[in-house]
């Protein structure tokens, strides 16, 4: 991270209106461009900074990542505040504007965006330096003012002091002088043993606003003259508008305009309800001649046929053919995974205003750089003329990280269709959100294991069939030799020592259902097949599921450590009491995603009728340095509930190309009464932090399925679980 250069932006162009210290960072080579932006008279000065200390004693951390619930804003601010020695109570967070020159995701190269559980991981060094540099300049300002040595100055909780003389000043009192200091070329970062916020509980910065109704989401944006747009979307993927009659829609009070856009017909009205009524009153004749018309059952049947043939090789080790030919026992199993909607509580929406200098966007923005390019292309302007205000997102789970800016472009097309006369808030109703695709792709897996005469696992064949997510995304270049890495992640990096292994992939290209990353992406299915199948290997060889895993994890001590912690805290091996007529069981699973390892032990109760209750889930996690332990707990609790929703309830199905679910009655979320008791144990670590937003999801379904198998002897290999199979 030594290539990060810190500049004192305050010295170049002082913040208008509110005096203070602002620090910005540049990647060398882009520094000149960034400086040009900083000097431009209309550029927002704060746009180029991570930290702003006001003369009013405010400490504002500029977060380059979206806050969608995962706690990124609190985590990013914790890192800055730690090195700055700020008073946590006074720290506030602002979302950064779109500017990849300063706010790029360091894991993604020259691109700004949030995803892949990377917010804290990529910002760790960058923001420690931001905080430490700010601190050093406050110290330098104090030393100059008091004519004392910097080494004799102490900073704590937002106060700079010189104990020998008893002099003290707040950050705010020093901010203007600090802004005049030279930026130190090298700053000392804290020894982790001196951390006072990192590793402690630093309360969320957004709790107050999210409990009094004042937190501002895209849905809550109102601009002067703004119209609300509700869109009639095609009934099938690939259908287009043949013609439409808007006369009834236009007769509805409040409806102002009706326009055709590439993806349907938009009704613009003064308020949401009028727009919805107008949309419902539209008569649209759709051209479905080129529409996708297969149903889920037909797609799955095709996938099962494909799985009988060799696919593109994603990973190969040893000689599987020989291993299987010499095997004493061969196990095989296949697994089915449905399409899944993200179904965030805030349905998709986006506000766009076109002005003479460019366009301005208000959005729970997750993919700034590609979205800037998409909108710039549409409007015929430069990407930097697309100003994006990043608001809170009412959940995303990957959906707002659109790979082709789909919903933003839809909003922009509407604005363009009315020649930018007024700002537009595009509102997708729940039915639009659930029916519009961009699902976790449907997958089919076939696995085989070869066991030798000594009961050793000597061969592993894993074949996957499913659509590519990367195709058509800004990351499509990562597809190599027919392998989309996110189709096979979690399968190609199987941690277990199997000498002969092959992973193959089929990527159908004629299935035109839009697909997208969904919280933990490929691991949503690979963790399930690998972690339940390894359990089957344990059962077939008469071994304890934990013992077999540990035996095969000799080369992966970090996995083993996490697994042992979960097993220990989850009472692995101790008996479970069951009431009469109930069967109980415990299952375990471990999985690494986004460089974080999570193991879970699930306890289930299965009744005679097959109904299932997950009673308890004990999680262990190694995510490097625990920046905010309570947020790690919170994310794992939520991940358990999120993953259990999919395991128990959720599937998006198609019939003759039409999506069959359109609201929470057809696509159910887990409810409070179904939530298991979740415990979280964090492996102490001084390594750099890794992600926590997603890695809690993958192990849950396999841990539960393994627990069901322990309780009932039945292996559930299809998601969502058909608990009817468990009735006795």
């Amino acid at each position: 991270m030594s290539q990060i250069v810190i500049e004192n932006l305050s010295r170049r162009r002082f913040l208008h209106g509110a005096g203070g210290l602002t620090l910005g960072f540049c990647i060398p080579g882009l520094a000149a461009a960034a400086a040009a932006v900083a000097k431009a008279p209309t550029a927002s000065f704060a746009a180029n900074a991570f930290l702003r200390i006001g003369a009013d004693n405010s400490v504002i951390v500029i977060a380059k990542h979206l806050e969608m619930g995962q706690g990124s804003h609190t985590g990013l601010a914790t890192i800055v505040a730690e090195e700055l020695d700020a008073d946590w109570k006074t720290v506030r967070v602002e979302g950064a504007p779109a500017d990849a020159r300063r706010y790029n995701n360091l894991n993604w190269g020259p691109m700004q965006g949030t995803g892949g559980s990377s917010a804290i991981a990529n910002s760790w060094e960058q923001l420690r330096q931001a905080g430490a540099t700010g601190r050093a300049m406050l110290v330098a300002a104090a030393a100059q003012r008091w004519r004392v040595g910097e080494a004799d100055i102490v900073v704590r909780d937002g106060v700079v002091s010189h104990p020998a003389s008893g002099r003290k000043a707040t950050f705010g009192e020093l901010a203007l002088d600090a802004a005049k200091q030279a930026v130190p070329t090298k700053v000392a970062l804290k020894d982790p043993k001196d951390f006072r916020l990192i590793g402690q509980q630093a309360n969320r910065r957004d709790s107050k606003d999210k409990t009094d109704g004042s937190a501002r989401f895209t849905q809550d944006v109102f601009l002067p003259g703004m119209l609300v747009a509700v869109v009639a979307h095609p009934p099938r993927f690939g259908a287009t508008v043949k013609s439409f009659d808007a006369s009834r829609a236009k007769a509805i009070k409040g409806v102002v305009d009706v326009v055709q856009i590439p993806g349907g017909v938009a009704v613009l009205a003064k308020d949401t309800w009028s727009a919805k009524k107008g949309r419902d009153a539209l008569a649209v004749d759709w051209d479905e001649s080129a529409a996708f018309k297969l149903g889920s059952d037909e797609i799955l049947a095709r996938y099962k046929e494909l799985a009988k043939t060799p696919g593109a090789v994603a990973k190969q080790a040893g000689d599987t053919n020989t291993a299987f030919a010499g095997a004493t026992k061969v196990l095989s199993a296949s697994y089915d995974f449905p399409y899944l909607a993200h179904a965030a509580m805030e349905p998709l929406n986006c506000v766009i205003r076109l002005g003479k200098d460019g366009c301005e966007v208000w959005n729970g923005e997750q993919m700034q750089t590609p979205d800037q390019h998409s909108l710039a292309q549409l409007f015929g302007i430069k990407p930097e003329q697309v100003k994006i205000n990043m608001l809170f997102a009412g959940g995303s789970f990957g959906r707002r990280a659109s790979k082709d800016s789909d919903y933003l472009l839809e909003a922009a097309q509407i604005v363009k269709a009315i020649a930018g006369r007024v700002p537009v808030k595009l509102v997708w109703l729940r039915e639009d959100d659930m029916g519009a695709g961009y699902y976790r792709p449907m997958f089919h897996h076939a696995l085989e294991a070869a066991i030798d005469s000594d009961g050793n696992l000597v061969g592993w064949r894993h074949r996957l069939v499913g659509q590519s997510i990367m195709a058509g995304s800004p990351m499509a270049a990562m597809i190599k030799n027919g392998i989309d890495p996110v189709s096979v992640e979690g399968a190609t990096n199987l941690p277990y020592a199997v000498p002969n292994l092959v992973v193959e992939l089929h990527t159908p290209t004629d299935i035109r259902v839009p697909v997208l990353w969904w919280r933990s992406v490929g691991s949503t299915h690979t963790a399930f097949s690998t972690e339940t199948f390894i359990d089957e290997v344990a059962a077939a060889t008469g071994k304890d599921p934990l013992a077999l895993r540990l035996q095969l994890l000799a080369e992966h001590p970090n996995h083993a450590r996490v697994l042992k912690l979960a097993a220990d805290k989850g009472d692995w091996g101790s008996p479970l009491k069951a009431n009469a007529g109930e069967r109980r069981g415990r299952g375990i699973a471990v999985h690494e995603s986004f460089r974080t390892i999570v193991a879970q032990v699930a306890e289930v109760t299965v009744k005679k009728d097959g109904s299932l209750k997950v009673d308890r889930v004990v999680c262990a996690v190694d995510c490097g340095t625990a920046v905010n332990p309570d947020n790690i707990r919170s994310q794992l609790e939520g991940s358990v509930g999120f993953a259990l929703s999919a395991a128990l309830h959720q599937q998006i199905t198609l019939k003759a190309g039409r999506v069959e679910q359109d609201n929470f009655d057809g696509f159910e979320l887990l409810r409070l009464n179904e939530m298991p008791a979740v415990e979280v144990h964090i492996v102490p670590s001084s390594a750099a932090p890794t992600g926590i937003g997603e890695p809690g999801v993958p192990p849950l379904a396999p841990a539960v399925a393994n627990a069901i198998a322990a309780a009932t002897g039945r292996r559930l290999r299809r998601m969502p679980f058909n608990t009817g199979e468990l009735a006795i």
Binding site: G213, W273, M345, E346, R430
Partner: protein
């Protein structure tokens, strides 16, 4: 014109009588703490009180709210239980994305108003209609117990 009493204030709104109360609160009065989630009374994000009892504002025509006291999240801190519940939510950092939390809090305050020391079964019954995609349920439950302790 339709006359409404929202959070103790009288408002005249010019909307069609079939308009759901949700959109009148949000789009007309710009009380945006009440959220749209499903439009069918399935998720609870739009929960408000009518004469003190929880109601799904997305499925309540504004005409049927005339003459009744409408209370939204923006005024919940005027209620003693509301204040305590908010404090518990903040102490335990219940929220994640936050979008459903206005509805969660409205339902929790209503529960505590008629049952000061709810059991887990009471919480299940009162709160299982409020969906949370982030699945903050464990903390919702804990915060209700925390608030009950503070009210005891």
């Amino acid at each position: 014109m339709i006359k409404l009493n929202v959070n103790g204030k009288s408002h005249q709104v010019d909307v069609a009588p079939d308009t759901p109360l949700l959109w009148v609160l949000r789009d007309t009065l710009q009380l945006t703490g009440t959220k749209y989630g499903c439009g069918k009374g399935l998720c609870g994000a739009c929960t408000v009180y009518l004469d003190g009892a929880p109601a799904r504002s997305c499925s309540t025509a504004v005409s049927s709210a005339v003459g009744r006291r409408i209370t939204t999240i923006e005024a919940i801190d005027a209620d003693r239980i509301g204040k305590v519940v908010q404090a518990a939510w903040r102490k335990l950092d219940v929220v994640q994305c936050g979008y459903c939390q206005s509805g969660q809090i409205m339902s929790a305050v209503a529960l505590l108003a008629h049952k000061r020391q709810p059991s887990d079964a009471d919480i299940d019954a009162a709160m299982s209609g409020n969906l949370c995609r982030c699945a903050t349920y464990q903390r919702v439950r804990a915060a209700i117990h925390e608030a009950a302790k503070a009210l005891a």
